[in-house]
Assembly symmetry: C2
Homo-oligomer: 328 residues x 2
């Protein structure tokens, strides 16, 4: 249809009972609509208020070896099947804030304010979105870290490397802490990305004076927030079960990265999985459990707001997003 | 796990390299987290900025005859399959605001400020969420109505029955206008809900002095916004194709109601479909087209933000939600 609006209205007028076309002069100036909504979303798990606070998303051409056991063509086929654009990958980042038992608990921190400036706001949005959601990071009681990759720990620091949560206790997986802060492990790690992970953890935790509280699996790290071993992605990778009353949600951390690729294809090994076979075994075990128990799941790398359920889909799984609740 | 947080931390401490548990006294007061995010979401279609602005959602026990040709048990089975709660239905409402060609165009208006007060904010949220998105309703140039049900037209008025868009041209489907404003049609309509629809339209449009511009199908009602006949839900029910550059989105209005029920089961006739067989034929034709063309679709009754793609799913269809983009 290439008819002009005037032609369209003339046509409409001919068919109309009471055509009263307003004067063009009355039309007012259009306001700008250039900023995305502050991407936070609240839902309740029993008495706990969960706020999913987006840290943004990164989009980049599919790197070589992004999936170490699948070709770029296979990745493109999976993207097409999920109605995502071809030849590029988008990874979303989703820290959480929990209001639980009178405390404010943050689960993972995003890439931090330094990355926000560097990426021109694409990532490192957590601070901005948390503020929009009414949270003051200086009043956070507890920060729980799932594992030691930069998109989870770098947000512990401000852009000038000061503590971003100055009054919070920082809880880290004991196994992860032991592995990544061990100088022997660092000396044996391959050059390149693995060395960078070790160095980044020293940068972050040294800036905090290494004042952290390592936690163990099988124990609550906050009221109703149970730490669960889900290793493979890293040696100390941790998920959580948040329970309150009869309700619960499984916080999967990085059991899968982008679910269009790695829930649909649980046998695919993302470049970031440190122990790929163990990560895959964990993924299959956890996703089978999520299906069998019909357990709600929150995914760090799911598209915002990142909460849904899992169903079997052929040889893999599919995330069924929860329906957005416009009230709480 | 019923271990206390203290026990958990003692356990963690035992395994820890550098356990430094912060004093409980340092923990600050938790801020409240009681309000949902203002539910608006922006995306681009070519040069056009689309802002999906939630009008809220209504949740109610499954009414008798909600699906006139399926039982409550069948509805519950569909809800369970979609991981939604049983025994109740949630219907979301999603007007749009388009920034197109220097103009601000609103597509459908929600249930209005009167309903907002009456429902304690559950529905009628459009005004509040549009304001949060930076829109001033007095600066809206054009309002396009898809059909004449109250959840689409009542937002044309303020809570005290004044024009909610005082400077906008109001475009209505010519066939819908002719049908619902015809006193003969009204006199022949069944008592109950159908009479109420006729009366509501007189209330709304009389308050506007019947100053509307009827439009015809097959013509643009705003730059790049083509009106498409999709009758059956009502006699003049209209969808839209928004096109800009190489990009487009199909604005389906009420071709399906809640997609977990009526996209999955296109043969089901929702109580609100006025000419059920015609509505079903339209639904199947449009959804087959959306699948064949892989065309992006925006649904008024899809969960917010209501944009996605359609895939075949057995004998029905399934909405694959678009991935939320935390930037624009």
């Amino acid at each position: 249809m290439q008819l002009s609006r005037r032609q369209a209205l003339i046509g409409a007028t001919a068919a109309a009972a009471l055509p009263l076309i307003k004067s063009e002069a009355a039309h007012a100036e259009a306001p700008a609509a250039t900023r995305q909504a502050a991407s936070f979303y609240r839902y309740k798990v029993g008495d706990v208020v969960v706020t999913a606070v987006s840290d943004g998303a990164a989009t980049f051409p599919i790197p070589d070896n992004f999936v170490i056991n699948a070709s770029k063509d296979q990745v493109n086929t999976a993207l097409e099947k999920a109605f995502r654009p071809k030849d590029k990958v988008t990874i979303a980042f989703g820290p959480l804030v929990l209001n639980v038992g009178g405390k404010v608990v943050v689960v993972d921190t995003g890439s931090g304010a330094g990355a926000y400036a560097k990426s021109k706001g694409a990532i490192g949005q957590f601070g901005v979105n948390a503020a929009a959601a009414g949270f003051d990071l200086s009043k956070v009681d507890t920060v729980v870290i799932s594992h030691f990759h930069s998109d989870h720990v770098d947000g512990l620091l401000t852009a000038d490397d000061k503590p971003a949560f100055p009054n919070a206790e920082i809880l880290v997986p004991a196994v992860e802490w032991k592995f990544f802060m061990d100088d022997g492990e660092m000396s044996r790690a391959p050059a390149g990305r693995m060395q960078a992970v070790f160095k980044d953890n020293r940068r972050v935790f040294d800036a905090l004076g290494r004042k952290v509280t390592p936690y163990e699996w099988g124990k609550d790290v906050a009221p109703g927030l149970l730490a669960v071993e889900t290793i493979g992605h890293t040696p100390g990778h941790t998920s959580f079960v948040l329970s309150s009353g009869n309700d619960k949600v499984f916080i999967q951390s990085d059991v899968t990265n982008n679910p269009d690729l790695f829930a649909r294809n649980p046998g695919w090994h993302v470049f970031y999985d440190q122990i790929p076979d163990v990560a895959e075994a964990t993924r299959r075990k956890i996703y089978d459990m999520l299906v069998a128990e019909r357990l709600k799941v929150q995914g760090y790398h799911y598209p915002f707001p990142g909460v849904g359920n899992i169903e079997k889909d052929g040889a893999g799984y599919r995330v069924v997003p929860a329906a957005w609740n416009p009230s709480i």
